[in-house]
């Protein structure tokens, strides 16, 4: 540890840029939005103070309930797949048995390098009903089935979104999991191997417990990101969330209410309430993780 003299101040100076920027572009807007959420502000006219009425209306709003349920469904579907998939992939990519590691890693990271505009385009092209690759070549030509309406069938909305999310973000999970695996001392594996444990047993008894902090970190990140998710459902389904609002997520609804209906007060209340939901879910995950 450093312990010079001016340096009592040094760390504060070093971290000050973050806090200055945060005060101006983070804390102030948050406070401002908090105030706005108590106002009946629709369109141009800033209305009167209405206390918590926006919040009360919110929990009775069928769209809001729908969006939260959709998002939770999405989280439950895509979360385990991306986190679990990321972990399994990381273990496989770390395996002594695998060759071309660099190549494989690059491939899995590749979609992260692709912008959302691009990835959404690629997916709509791929899943397009008459002339998408999946529909025409795989489903029609190879399996001789009717084309599937990935993008407009309500029951497929969230699963289709999940496909896109896995494709685009599994690289993120992989990064976190690989970093986690690196932190496990190799002598533990060695010991396990000498004890005659199978790779699967090693995974369950050595890898998994030691990876808990990373899985948790990833889970929290995924939760936050899912509730903030906007671009993907927007590109696939539009602001209405597609047929029967099956693709309406919370991020989409906040955007729609704020920037399509221009109900800033209501939108701010929604953003605030979602912030609380996200925070609560994150805490819950931490709790559950610590119990193990």
């Amino acid at each position: 540890m450093l312990s010079a003299k001016w340096p009592k101040l040094a760390p504060y100076v070093f971290i000050s840029p973050f806090f200055i920027v945060f005060l101006v572009f983070g804390a102030f807007p948050i406070a401002f939005s908090g105030a706005v959420s108590l106002i009946d502000w629709s369109g141009v006219k800033m209305g009167e103070f209405i206390g918590f009425r926006n919040y009360i209306n919110l929990i009775q709003d069928p769209d809001f309930v729908r969006a939260v349920l959709n998002t939770v469904y999405l989280l439950l579907l895509s979360g385990p797949l991306t986190i679990g998939g990321g972990l399994v992939l990381a273990v496989l990519l770390n395996s002594q048995l695998l060759r071309f590691k660099g190549l494989f890693r690059t491939i899995f990271y590749l979609p992260m390098a692709v912008s959302l505009v691009v990835s959404a385009l690629a997916f709509t092209m791929l899943l397009n009903k008459p002339f998408g690759l999946v529909n025409d070549l795989i489903i029609r030509q190879i399996f001789n089935q009717e084309p599937i309406d990935f993008l407009t069938n309500p029951t497929l909305a969230i699963p289709t979104l999940t496909l896109l999310i896995i494709w685009r973000y599994i690289g993120n999970d992989l990064v976190i999991m690989l970093a986690g695996l690196q932190s496990i001392p190799s002598d533990l594996y060695e010991a396990s191997r000498i004890d005659g444990a199978s790779p699967f047993q090693t995974f369950i008894h050595i890898t998994l417990p030691l990876m808990v902090p990373f899985i948790l970190f990833d889970a929290i990140l995924t939760t936050v990101n899912t509730f903030n998710l906007f671009a993907e459902p927007y590109i696939l389904f539009g602001t209405e969330g597609g047929a029967n609002q099956a693709g309406l997520t919370t991020g989409l609804l906040v955007f729609r209410v704020s920037f399509k209906y221009f109900k800033f007060g209501y939108g701010a209340a929604m953003a605030y309430l979602l912030g609380v939901v996200i925070f609560a879910l994150s805490l819950l995950q931490l709790r559950v993780g610590q119990k193990d």
Partner: protein, 452 residues
């Protein structure tokens, strides 16, 4: 993960952002010179305001700003000290930016385009143009002025006109032994659709609708809107007198009943994506579609191979002898209250849009979007349109525009439409009866929009 906007265009974008690229045009040779030579009722030429200077900033999307660009030379002859900057944004961003600007008072443009269904939302921040437009009102198509009026004030300069008719495939009508003349009500249309379905064993259908919210030529929300207007509800969801929600009135329920019949899977492809719909049109599987005045451009742009096969007719009526005209959302150009240079902005608009020349430039630049200046429309009505087998579709559109009753958009309309769409879907999926859906929609509108 950062939020993003739609990379895919919405239906409106796609149709409105037509533009100078002239990817599609209805008018093979629209001659401006000839139009100017026409006899014209004199409009008092206003004296230029002395001493105007500075800059004016105009916002709009492609397809709505080319005529601004073209008007700059004429404007600067009168006002050499005023520079004009045109900021092009996408259709959706324009609305978001307008609202942000007039809300915050920051970066406010001197004039901006927007779709008139946002009028109620923007009204507080817009300049009252009633007095300035007074001398020119007789030159505009009446319905376009009505739409630009909110609570008795004219808040925008009408840009395009969007009467709604119906397109049908004359070749296929013939093949299936149908006569467009005989289809005068929606019941007739449904009957004809059944005939087609039977003859083609369900392969070919009269209509297509996309139950989802993607771009489709038959988005159900578009259809319910125009049915409501047709059935006498000029404010679609609201009442003019007291701004009350009217979507649970008998007229609205009746309109919804028609939509239910039209969305019968026997006569209508449901849940067809745009690409699928375009492919189906190309494969001669769809016979007809409702068609606002922008729609011919979408047709020529996407389905050039069908040239000569389409014809246009009026919408069927809801009841025998009923109204066979409806109207869709057009755009206006407005001057915000906080505009830095409102006088120069008005002078610019006067030249660019409140004039025959300006509106002709608009139609020219968009490849044939209908203008709102009567005499500009007159230059179009006699033109036979090749894509429609030489039919003078502008004449029909112009006639429809004249018959459209009082129409307007009230406060909260964009959200009301979203609510309406949601409940309309329940009818199309046959989960609710038209009456139940209308009542549920009305209830939700009242709750969310604080309306009676």
């Amino acid at each position: 993960m950062k939020p993003q906007k739609n990379a895919r265009l919405s239906r409106r974008d796609f149709l409105r952002l037509s533009a100078g690229a002239a990817a599609a045009t209805l008018l093979a040779s629209h001659n401006l010179e000839g139009a100017f030579a026409q006899e014209s009722t004199p409009i008092p030429t206003p004296t230029p305001i002395p001493g105007l200077s500075g800059e004016i900033v105009l916002w709009g999307w492609k397809g709505g700003i080319e005529h601004f660009q073209a008007a700059i030379p004429e404007f600067q002859k009168l006002y050499p000290n005023v520079t004009v900057r045109i900021e092009e944004m996408s259709y959706e961003d324009t609305h978001t930016n307008v609202l942000a600007a007039i809300n915050t008072g920051v970066g406010v443009p001197d004039a901006t385009n927007f779709d008139v269904n946002h009028l109620g939302e923007f009204a507080e921040g817009l300049m009252d143009l009633t007095e300035k437009l007074q001398p020119y009102l007789h030159e505009f198509i009446p319905v376009s002025v009505k739409l630009a009026t909110y609570k008795g004030k004219i808040l925008g300069v009408p840009q395009d006109s969007q009467p709604v008719g119906m397109f049908y495939r004359s070749d296929l009508f013939e093949q299936y032994g149908l006569d467009a003349e005989q289809i005068t009500t929606y019941a007739d249309l449904v009957q004809a659709g059944k005939q087609v379905a039977e003859a083609s064993k369900g392969e070919v259908k009269m209509l297509a609708m996309d139950v989802g919210s993607k771009i489709c030529m038959g988005d159900p929300h578009l259809i319910i809107d125009l049915l409501l207007v047709q059935n006498g509800l000029g404010g679609t969801y609201f009442n003019r007198e007291d701004d009350k929600v009217v979507v649970d009135t008998p007229e609205a329920i009746e309109a919804m009943e028609v939509l239910k019949q039209l969305s019968d899977p026997d006569i209508c492809f449901l849940g067809m994506s745009d690409d699928a719909a375009i492919a189906a049109y190309g494969a001669d599987k769809i016979l007809a579609t409702v068609a606002p005045a922008w729609f011919p451009l979408a047709m020529t742009g996407n389905l050039p191979q069908l040239s000569g096969k389409w014809r246009m007719m009026r919408l069927p009526a809801i009841k025998p002898g009923g109204l066979r005209a409806s109207y869709q959302i057009p755009s206006v150009t407005a001057i915000p209250k906080d505009a830095p240079n409102p006088d120069a902005a008005w002078e610019f608009l006067r030249i660019a849009q409140v004039s025959l020349e300006g509106q002709l430039r608009f139609t020219e630049a968009t490849g044939g979007v209908m203008p709102t200046w009567k005499r500009a429309v007159e230059t179009l009505v006699e033109k036979p349109i090749e894509y429609f087998g030489g039919q003078k579709i502008y004449a029909l559109y112009a006639a429809i525009a004249e018959e459209v009753p009082d129409v307007w958009f009230g406060r909260g309309w964009p959200e009301a439409r979203s609510i309406m769409r949601k409940h309309t879907e329940t009818v199309i999926r046959r989960e609710k009866s038209p009456e139940e859906a209308c009542k549920a929609a009305a209830e939700e509108m009242r709750l969310k929009l604080n309306k009676g």
